[in-house]
């Protein structure tokens, strides 16, 4: 009885924790817990940062993390803040997404009290067999779809990054071109010849 009570209590505590936790998505790999702590620290005190390991896709995909804040209010505040303003963490060229965390996101979540899971084999003759099979197929399909989606996203991001860097490069080139004549005084001496004062401009 007492264990049950304890479990209930623990679960209630866990639920509270979920409420004050923010789920961060699309994080760069350069982001460390310290980075997150500092980044969100400007809005509220960060209690704990936990990265969710990527079990699903054997590929370098953006990370996600669970960030526990002081209280639920602060957590919600951060979510609105990050939704309203594109928020970059770790200087990545994409804003990080923030959402309220869900219980399922925690790998160490306690089992809800009063729930029992039974596992058994199902024979092909079992009426549940078809159901189970469908479920299995669905899971597989979901997996494939997730993969495809992630890939598309990665592709798109790569394209965007390429575009941005191209833009940047061309602008840097322009800047450097102008800078050369600024540096070697060509511009200023010509301005002198013309009798105009560049400093005024």
């Amino acid at each position: 009885m007492s264990t049950n009570m304890e479990a209930r209590k623990a679960y209630a505590e866990f639920e509270e924790k979920v409420k004050r936790t923010v789920f961060l998505d699309n994080l760069s790999h350069k982001v460390t817990p310290a980075v997150i702590k500092m980044a969100l620290g400007q809005f509220a005190n960060v209690v704990n940062v936990e990265f969710i390991p990527n079990y699903t896709i054997p590929y370098d995909i953006p990370q996600c993390a669970l960030v526990e804040m002081e209280n639920q209010e602060k957590a919600n505040g951060i979510i609105t803040e990050m939704t309203n303003f594109p928020f970059m963490i770790g200087g990545m060229p994409r804003p990080v997404r923030a959402r309220p965390a869900k219980a399922e996101m925690f790998s160490d979540r306690p089992a809800p009290p009063d729930r029992k899971i039974e596992v058994r084999w199902v024979d092909p003759s079992d009426p549940d067999f078809e159901v189970a099979k469908k479920l299995k197929e669905m899971v597989q399909r979901h997996k494939a779809e997730t993969l495809a989606l992630v890939k598309l996203q990665l592709d798109e991001e790569e394209k965007l990054a390429k575009q941005q860097s191209e833009m940047l490069k061309s602008n840097v080139k322009k800047y450097e071109m102008i800078e050369t004549i600024m540096q070697d005084k060509t511009a200023s001496s010509l301005a002198r010849h013309y009798g105009i004062n560049l400093a005024d401009e």
Binding site: Y59, A148, M177, L190, I196
Partner: protein, 1214 residues
Amino acid sequence: MESSDDEEIMPQSVTKYYFMDEEELPISFAVLPVLFDVAERPGASQMKVFLRGTADEGHQQVYKQVTAWKLGFQDDRPNVMVLLTENKWINLLKPRKTYYEDTIRTTMITLEMLHYLKKKPESSAKNLWDHLRRVFSMFEVRPSEDDLRDHLSLIKLFTEKDETLGKCQLLLGFLTDKPGKKTGEDPRNDPDVKHSFIAADDELDEDTGDDNGDDSDEESDLFDSVCAICDNGGELICCEGSCMRSFHATRDAGEDSDCKSLGYTRAQVEAIQNFMCKNCRYGQHQCFACGKLGSSDKSAGAEVFRCVSATCGHFYHPKCVAELLFPGNPAEASEYQKKIAAGENFTCPVHKCIICKGGENKEDEELQFAMCRRCPKSYHRKCLPRNIAFEDIEEEEDIIQRAWDDLLPNRILIYCLKHTIDDDLGTPIRNHIIFPDIPEKKKVTNVQKNKVKLLAEKKRQVSDDLPGDHTSIKLTKVAEKSSSGEKSHFMIKNSKGITERVHDSQKKVKALKKSLQMDSYKADGAVIEDSKIAKKGKARIVIPESCGKISSSFPVIDNETEKKMSALMEDASSSLTLEDVSRKCMVPSTHAYSARHIDKSITQGKVEVSVEAIRAALQKLEKGGSVEDAKAVCEPDILKQILKWNNKLKVYLAPFIHGVRYTSFGRHFTKVDKLKEIADKLQWYVQNGDMMVDFCCGANDFCLLMKEKLDAAGKKCHFKNFDVIKPKNDFNFEQRDWMKVQPKELPTGSQLIMGLNPPFGVKGALADKFIDKALTFKPKLLILIVPDETQRLDKKKKHPYDLIWEDNQSLSGKSFYLPGSVDVNDKQMEQWNLKPPGLYLWSRPDWTMKHKAIAIKYGHLSAEQQVCPAEEESQVGKPVEAIVEKEHEDGYEKKDATIVDMEFRGEDNKSSQQSNKRKSIENQKKKSKKRKKSKKRAEVSEEQKLDGFVDMNSSSPPKNRGTRNPSDSYLTSEPIKTPVEQGNHHRSNSGSGVEFGTLSGSGRSTAFRNEDFDELATKYMIPSNTEILYNSNFNNWSNGGMSSQEYGIRNSEERYSGYMRENSIEPFGGSPYAGDANAYGRSLEGDLRMEQRLFGIQGQDDFSEWNRFSLGGSDLGLAQTGFASSSYGPSSQNAQISTMQRYAPRLDETNYGRHGNLGPGAPLHSRSDMYDMPGVRREMPPNSLSFASMSYPPIPPSGLYPPRPPSSGGWLPD
């Protein structure tokens, strides 16, 4: 306001115009009666409206009263004219930008619509709105029906008065339409169009577009902004290459001029990051003279070379250009040809007038160039042959329009007589551009591709055919054309039939047009479809490959799923547009300013060419060429332009140039310890009941710090903190955009103190905005951390504020940090500015006096301000002036005095009789003084409490202005009185002091005045650290008060001295005055003590220093006292002279500081010395008098000033 100079030639037209009413407020001309008949005259209007602007290319200012206006339909654009009171019509050309955007934009849209419909009453709504959007495309808000709604009565009037418009179904429909129903929205309102309008209507109010707008306006002014194909303006795409041409990218964009355009689709255009025309991409350009393509790639044996002129962009064969440059001189031509072929710079014939061989001067209208678009030929406006006319001349059949004025910036676009103008196009045949035909797409073996191409081809043909009917009416350049039956050359067979039919009956044409359009859409659709298929096909092929590549790390996905997903994604992404997303994201005013777009018009080619031109121009000059030649290569505006570009790019690239310091929101916060310093300083200016407003509170630390301070001081204040982003601590925080806070939300200005660290923005522009906003609240004090470039508040036009102090040092070094950013070691990232921003305290003028006084008392004034106090003071009321000046002086004197004193202390054991030594001391003093100051600044006010000690010296606790006044005022009020009388004065003076006290509105002074000294003394005696501040103030105060009484009542002095002694006992170990503990010594002692405290100001360490001093002080003090009373006298006498000489000039200059030093020496001798000698020496009697008197006042306050002891001693006994 009627202009009387009637004999002056009335300008025909006016630019940069705007209208004002009698109050000089901008007003739309539409308020005036509109006339439809030239002969008609308006009735008397009750409103007086004035036209302002410039005419005659800016040479003439126009300022006329106008009475009516009318709309001219003759031209291809609506022509608005206004009627002057002189009964003359004047054309309105270009409105002033701000006026346009703020006042008459909607009117102009309405007029444009009326004009368009007048020309094409049958036009569809879609065409109308497309047209309007194109015409007003340079504005971020696109025309909407709402813009017209304000002018319904005007529209109605036109429909009544004008027959054509009266029959226009669209217009009538609009008039009867219920608001809300959108006639204007065409069904095919593609999202693409929306994309190009970044700013949504609702953000316009806070948009800072005007600054940007001006820039970009000028930007496009130097380079051609017409399509290279059709020579018309509109929506263009700039080639990044060195040809610097612009093109209509889509058929749509070039529709007006029947431009075949580059034939891209909108989607394609959007996908293009940096457009480069094929000529530039493949390094093959046409020779502008012979029209043949040639390689322009210098690394691979170029055949054509680019003219070096910055805005030219034309290429030539060396032979062609040499022949043009040296006609009839083959020898020289071949010589030059070789030079060019060898790579030497040249300017092509375009840059000299073909008639007079003169250069271009864009400033002078007569010397502006008319440039042929098809061959290298230019004329001055004045040299332009008559046959190249701006208008068709009907009488002489062969003259048709060949010149257009407004298409090129400060230039005239012409087609010279060599080229036959095509009647339908209004331009010569457009076969002049040859793109290198490089089979780039041949590598794609997809059959479908070819099909696509074919279709595109077909489409283009169709489009060529199609607009026959529009263009003859629409082509902006071509005024109403009498449709001739002639067919354009390149129209293909069946178009003949079409055009004929066009002329037969309009209805048929419409039908036909529709079908054609349908065709073209179909074609369009087909193309799209096909390309889609092609893409997909390609994708299908590609995927396995790419999968193969990634599969080592990325799991393989089956095509089916992938396709499904990509379809899903496409679906999702098509359902939302960039606009929707950006609308959802708030753009706080702090961010709206960021370099949102780096201008697309800064193309690489332009930069490259400009840079090269600048170099070439300089070379030319250095080789002895004339300035005019150089200007042909690179006009001065190019230089300015490049500078502007440089700045723009700098801003845009800043995060990359200056290292990757990119942070979340690009904010920077002031470090807490710096904030503490500021709070320490600021607290003295805060009064009970004030409200502190931090308009950009960042981490929200400042007000909290202030609250701590003020609570400790027993001041109850309110706080309010604004920012757009929630801080960690939400003390009195409100998440608001400062720009949106309304004045009524905060208390009145005299209770407001605002600060602190606004975002700076480019060149302080954002800071300016924040400050301007803050000024609307009229706060009594503004404390600001802003960069130098920010507009100073005393330069504000409307409500200038007075500077109390500024501090350019304390925020140097790592005073800031970047919130939310960590460095590699996971430490908070710090930030420092190459040029530290300054800390400023600004006061509302009516509070300046008070705040200044506080500043002086606490020694907040910085060195710079010492230099020119007089200037600053001049703003203050006159009676106050003296005081304030005095205050200054006091402050400085004290400091100096201390220093001198220190010096003495250092020297005390030596015989100070050697005047030489003294001199050296003086030197030291100077040095040390400097050092001290900087030190002081460096350490600033972390230990502001100690500042309190200084305040003691200056004898004015924050609220007790009055108290200080009595002491100060002795002399101010009676500077002329001889010192001998001084004794008597004191009473009366102290009286006047009281007067001053009341004057300055502080009743406390009197209250304090009457307080029992003992009480004060006891207060003072309480050595509690926390209270030191206040105690010292009291004490200080009591000093002042005491001293004044002291002079009158002798025995109180005894009390005082006793009290002083008591004070000094602590630090000095109780044996301060050696034997001669008389009044002088005593007071001297007090002084010493004070001075040491003065030093204490400089930092906590100084405190210990002070202790050190005071510990050692027993001897020091002893020695000093002795020294002061004995050896000091003689020595200082000598010294005094030298000092005087030394400082005399400087003294006169400004610096009162040294007085303390002088003063002390002098009195030792005799008072008269002090007053006379310096004066004589300086030969500035009045000044010296006032100086003397100024330096004098400190004396009465007794022990405060080291030198004084002797002097006061000298007098008092008298």
